[in-house]
């Protein structure tokens, strides 16, 4: 079972009305791998990511998280009910562009919330885990603070700790640094780099080329809902296979 991929996407397709956003996406992410998903705005990157934890419901295709299919109860041959879906989502973590920390809870409570109220963990245990994770992201001194008092970079580091607290099989990052000012981007990317070296499985939708080059194991390029390039970062950045990627890299450089 150790070679079961953390995430396996097969023939994933999704349309919004008449617009086909994703077409026949295939992607396999092994445990401990970091996959960067690049592409211009509207290429389907975020939609693909949001299909993985069923925030968007795909039209076709299958997605397995650590060997278990999300969205469909295969044993019973029917769509998953809310509880089953929640159980699957608890196995994935997500970090949003807009942070989405729960504003009525403190930093510590934000990180403890899902372990306690989703997993049913004892508060003391959840607190110990949350404290360790906040330490890891450098937010120990802000445990009692409410989100509105934090900077964007701080909020994002807390939301990374919040995702980690569920010990997910994979963490989905949806443009985690796009809402940050340039000075704050670095602190979030540093945390993410550390996670990758600790062996966390991550799928990162991003515009940070340097991060994609330095940290990823795979780089995926989406164009109009199709993966037009999928390769190791060295190949992707030094020897792109398509004219489109070459153009994209030229403009981004």
């Amino acid at each position: 079972m150790s070679d079961t991929p953390a995430v396996s996407i097969k023939r994933l397709s999704k349309s919004f009305g008449d617009i086909e956003v994703l077409r026949d996406i295939d992607l396999s992410v092994n445990k401990g791998e970091v996959v960067s998903v690049l592409g211009s705005s509207g290429s389907g990157k975020s939609t693909m990511l949001r299909c993985i934890n069923w925030l968007e419901v795909p039209d076709r295709g299958t997605i397995h998280i650590a060997g278990k299919r999300i969205g469909v109860n295969e044993g019973a041959g029917r769509p998953m009910n809310n509880k089953e879906l929640a159980g699957m989502r608890a196995r994935t973590g997500m970090v949003f562009q807009g942070f989405n920390l729960w504003p009525h809870l403190t930093v510590l409570q934000n990180v403890m919330e899902a372990p306690v109220y989703v997993k049913g963990m004892h508060k003391e245990e959840a607190r110990a885990i949350a404290e360790a994770l906040l330490e890891k992201v450098g937010m120990s001194d802000k445990q009692g603070a409410y989100p509105f008092t934090l900077s964007g970079g701080q909020k994002q580091r807390v939301s990374i700790a919040r995702a980690l607290a569920m010990s997910p099989e994979v963490i989905l990052f949806d443009e985690p640094t796009s809402a940050l000012d340039p000075e704050r981007v670095g602190e979030v990317l540093t945390v993410m780099k550390n996670l990758s070296s600790e062996g966390y499985t991550m799928i990162v939708v991003t515009h940070e080329m340097e991060f994609a080059r330095a940290v990823s194991d795979q780089v995926v390029f989406l164009e109009k809902g199709i993966i037009i390039e999928k390769s190791a970062p060295a190949t992707f950045f030094n020897n792109p296979q398509t004219e489109r990627v070459r153009k994209f890299l030229e403009i981004s450089a």
Partner: protein, 220 residues
Amino acid sequence: MTEWSILWEARETFISGLGNTLLLFVCSIVIAFVLGCVVVYLLEAGSALSTTLRILINLMRTLPFLILAYLLYYGLPQLGLKMSAWSAGLLALIIYHAAYFAEILRGSRLVLAEGYVEAAKAHGFTPLRMFIRIVLPQLMIKTRPLLGNQLIIALKDTAFLTIITVQELTAAANSAQATYFIPTQAFVVVIALYWLISICLELALKWAGRFGAKRGFDYV
């Protein structure tokens, strides 16, 4: 000031009236609020039930409270459902204000940033857990002034129940003024008492406001 001493002699009536008013008020708003929350949760589901609930809410909002009280107390016995004035009054208060509480919370739910909900879903919250832990606390903080307003309206609506013979505060004043022919003094006393309860409510709400302020919610 003999009128005041007459009223003092009749204080038992006022005290028991005040007790009934407070009991009706507290029971009805607690149950109405819980019911309102349940309705908002059911509306989230977006099923066929939600259309029915929306219709019921709007029906309540367009119905004068007194008519609802009449309907429950005088109308239901025709259908073989007979209740005491007290039960009918309590039920009327609950139904009526539950609809308003639901409407207040629903309005706030409509403008709650979807990101908080998505984050809760992404972390594995079931809809009910999410509603109780993530959505409802934010709605309550944001709608505090409106909820407070509704509490005071609910308090004043208890006075209508005197018409269906509930022995609450207004009924006490009415009975005192009718017995001793001192309407001004009798009503001044109950006005002061309603006012006092309202002030306590206002203070409690103001105090509750610090929960939101501490969390940066005071832009609402």
